[in-house]
C-alpha cells in the first residue's frame, strides 16, 4: 500500500503534568481537507504547532510526502495561519512586503520578480493591485485574513493549516473567507487542515472530520459518515449541538 501523503502517528506532548496530546494519529491524502474539531483545550492547536515545527512532540512521528517532520526549526513546507491574523502581521509592512517576505527568505528570484509574484498572490486572495502598497494596519479584519492567507500561500506549502482563523469573524466575513478557501483549494490543489470549534463550518468546507478530545483523535471519518452516523460520544454530542444551532433550510418558516 502506498504511503499516505501525511501520516501522523502516536503524537504525544505534555506541558509539565498536563498532557496536551496523547498518542494522536491520523493520515491525510494529497489534495484533501481535514476538519479538525473539538473543545478548547482538546489539543487541536498543539497538534498544529507540532506539524508546523513550532513545538517538538515528546513522542511520535510525522511524515509529509515521504519526509520526516519535527526537526528543530519551523518547517517551511507546512504553513500555519493563526487565529489572530491581524496580530501575526507586522503592522508597518506594506501588503506586498508581507507577501514577498517568504519568497525573499527562500531566495526566490530578483526583487522585481518577487514584487510581481507578491502582486499575483494578492490578486489570488482578492486584494486589489492598488492596495498592495498600503501598510497592514490600513486593512480591515477580513482583508488581513486575506493577507495572512496570501503570505502562507507564497511559501508554496505542501500542507496549509488554518487555525480558527474564521471564528473571530462575523458571518458575512466568515462566508467570504470560506468561499475564498474553497476557491483556492480548487485552483491550487491544496492539502489543508482546518481547525475549528464549529463542526458545521468544518463539515461545510472539509472532506473529512477528525474529532479531538483530551489530546486524542477519537473519531476520523468522511464528512458524510461523521455527520450522518457518528460513533464516538464526543462526535455525537457535537453533531447534535450543531444540528440544534443550524438555521432551518430556506423557506421553512
Amino acid at each position: 500500500m502506498a504511503e499516505p501523503f501525511l501520516r501522523v502517528e502516536g503524537l504525544t506532548k505534555s506541558y509539565g503534568a498536563r498532557a496536551a496530546l496523547r498518542r494522536a494519529g491520523f493520515v491525510l491524502e494529497k489534495g484533501r481537507m481535514l476538519g479538525l474539531v473539538g473543545a478548547s483545550g482538546s489539543g487541536k492547536s498543539t497538534l498544529a504547532r507540532c506539524l508546523a515545527g513550532f513545538e517538538r512532540p515528546d513522542e511520535g512521528s510525522m511524515r509529509l510526502d515521504g519526509k520526516v517532520l519535527g526537526g528543530q526549526a519551523p518547517a517551511p513546507q507546512v504553513q500555519l495561519i493563526f487565529q489572530e491574523a491581524a496580530a501575526s502581521l507586522n503592522p508597518r509592512f506594506r501588503a506586498e512586503e508581507i507577501v514577498s517576505e517568504p519568497l525573499e527568505i527562500r531566495r526566490r528570484g530578483t526583487p522585481a520578480l518577487r514584487r510581481k509574484m507578491a502582486a499575483e498572490w494578492l490578486e489570488m486572495v482578492g486584494i486589489a493591485r492598488a492596495a498592495s502598497a498600503k501598510p497592514a494596519l490600513a486593512f480591515s479584519g477580513g482583508e488581513r485574513q486575506r493577507l495572512a492567507i496570501a503570505r502562507a500561500l507564497a511559501a508554496e506549502p505542501q500542507l496549509l493549516i488554518v487555525d480558527e482563523s474564521l471564528s473571530g469573524l462575523d458571518v458575512m466575513l466568515q462566508a467570504q473567507i470560506a468561499a475564498l478557501l474553497a476557491d483556492l483549494r480548487r485552483r491550487l490543489d491544496l492539502t489543508c487542515i482546518l481547525i475549528s470549534h464549529d463542526l458545521g463550518l468544518a463539515a461545510r468546507l472539509a472532506d473529512e472530520i477528525a474529532v479531538m478530545d483530551s489530546g486524542e483523535i477519537v473519531e476520523h471519518a468522511p464528512v458524510e459518515q461523521a455527520m450522518g452516523s457518528p460513533r464516538h460520544p464526543r462526535t455525537r454530542e457535537l453533531v447534535e449541538a450543531n444540528r440544534l444551532l443550524a438555521l432551518a433550510p430556506e423557506g421553512a418558516a
Binding site: V171, E224, Q225
Partner: protein, 255 residues
C-alpha cells in the same frame, strides 16, 4: 399585550457622525431578544447606550423607557441605582471582565455587596447553573474553564435579580455543546426569574435557537425586527436575507 419592559424610541447616538441612527424597539418582560448584525454595525454601542455608559463627547438623544422610567437625561446617581440592579451586562470576554486576583467566592460577594444586598454567593452561582463546590469557590478566574467563567459572570449579573440582562457575544469562544447549554440556561433563568435577556450575537443560527424575537442591525439602523421565526423564516429585508445566506453558507447540519 403586556406593557413593554424597555421601550426605545428614536434613539440616536452621535460622535462626529451618527453611530446609531433613530432606533425604535421594545423588549417584552420575560423574553429573549436577539440582536444581530455585522461587526461595527453598532450592536455594542446600543448596549452601552441602554446602560448610559457612553461618555462625553458621545451625544445620546431620543427616549429609553425602562418600566416607564425615562433613562435619557437621568443623573449619573440615578443610573448607578439602575445599572446592575435593574439592567445588568455580561461582557464578551469573561477573562477580561473578572478580577484576576479575586477568588470566585469574593468575586460574586463583591458584586452582591456593591449593590447593598445580602444574598449568599452560593445561591447566585447555583442560579447560574454552577455547583458551588470548594474547588469553584476557591478558584481564581484563570483556574476555571471558559464555560465556568461565563457562569461566574452570569451569577454576578443575576445577583441583584435585574429585570434585563444584556449579554454581548457570550457564545463566541464556546464549543457548540457549551453554546447549547448556555442557551438552555438563559431560557431557564428567564422562566424562573422573569428576567428578560438582550443577547448580542453575530450568529443567526444561535439566535434562531435561543431568542423569541430579533433585531437585525446594519450601519447603525434596525433594518428588520419581529418574532425570530418570522424574521429568519421569511425575511422582509434584503439585508436580513443576505445575512442568513452567509450563515447558511458556513454551516452544515447533516451528513
Amino acid at each position: 399585550m403586556p406593557e413593554a419592559l424597555v421601550q426605545v424610541r428614536d434613539l440616536r447616538v452621535t460622535l462626529s457622525s451618527a453611530i446609531l441612527d433613530g432606533l425604535s424597539f421594545e423588549i417584552a418582560p420575560g423574553s429573549i431578544t436577539g440582536l444581530c448584525g455585522e461587526s461595527g454595525c453598532g450592536k455594542t454601542t446600543l448596549a452601552l447606550a441602554l446602560l448610559r455608559l457612553l461618555p462625553e463627547p458621545y451625544r445620546v438623544e431620543g427616549s429609553i423607557l425602562l418600566g416607564g422610567r425615562e433613562l435619557i437625561g437621568s443623573s449619573e446617581r440615578e443610573m448607578r441605582s439602575i445599572r446592575g440592579a435593574r439592567i445588568a451586562m455580561i461582557f464578551q470576554d469573561p477573562i477580561l471582565a473578572l478580577n484576576p486576583v479575586l477568588r470566585v467566592r469574593d468575586q460574586v460577594r463583591e458584586a452582591i455587596r456593591a449593590h447593598g444586598l445580602t444574598g449568599r454567593p452560593e445561591e447566585a452561582l447555583e442560579l447560574a447553573g454552577l455547583e458551588p463546590s470548594r474547588r469553584i469557590m476557591r478558584a481564581y478566574p484563570h483556574e476555571l474553564s471558559g464555560g465556568e467563567r461565563q457562569r461566574v459572570l452570569i451569577a454576578q449579573a443575576l445577583a441583584c435579580r435585574p429585570a434585563l440582562v444584556i449579554a454581548d457575544e457570550p457564545f463566541t469562544a464556546l464549543d457548540l455543546p457549551r453554546v447549547v447549554e448556555l442557551s438552555a440556561l438563559f431560557r431557564d433563568l428567564m422562566r424562573r426569574t422573569g428576567t428578560s435577556f438582550l443577547v448580542i450575537s453575530h450568529s443567526p443560527g444561535v439566535l434562531a435557537h435561543l431568542a423569541d424575537s430579533v433585531l437585525v442591525m446594519r450601519s447603525g439602523r434596525i433594518v428588520e425586527q419581529g418574532p425570530v421565526d418570522r424574521v429568519f423564516g421569511a425575511p422582509a429585508d434584503g439585508y436580513t436575507a443576505r445575512l442568513l445566506a452567509a450563515a447558511r453558507a458556513t454551516e452544515r447540519a447533516h451528513g
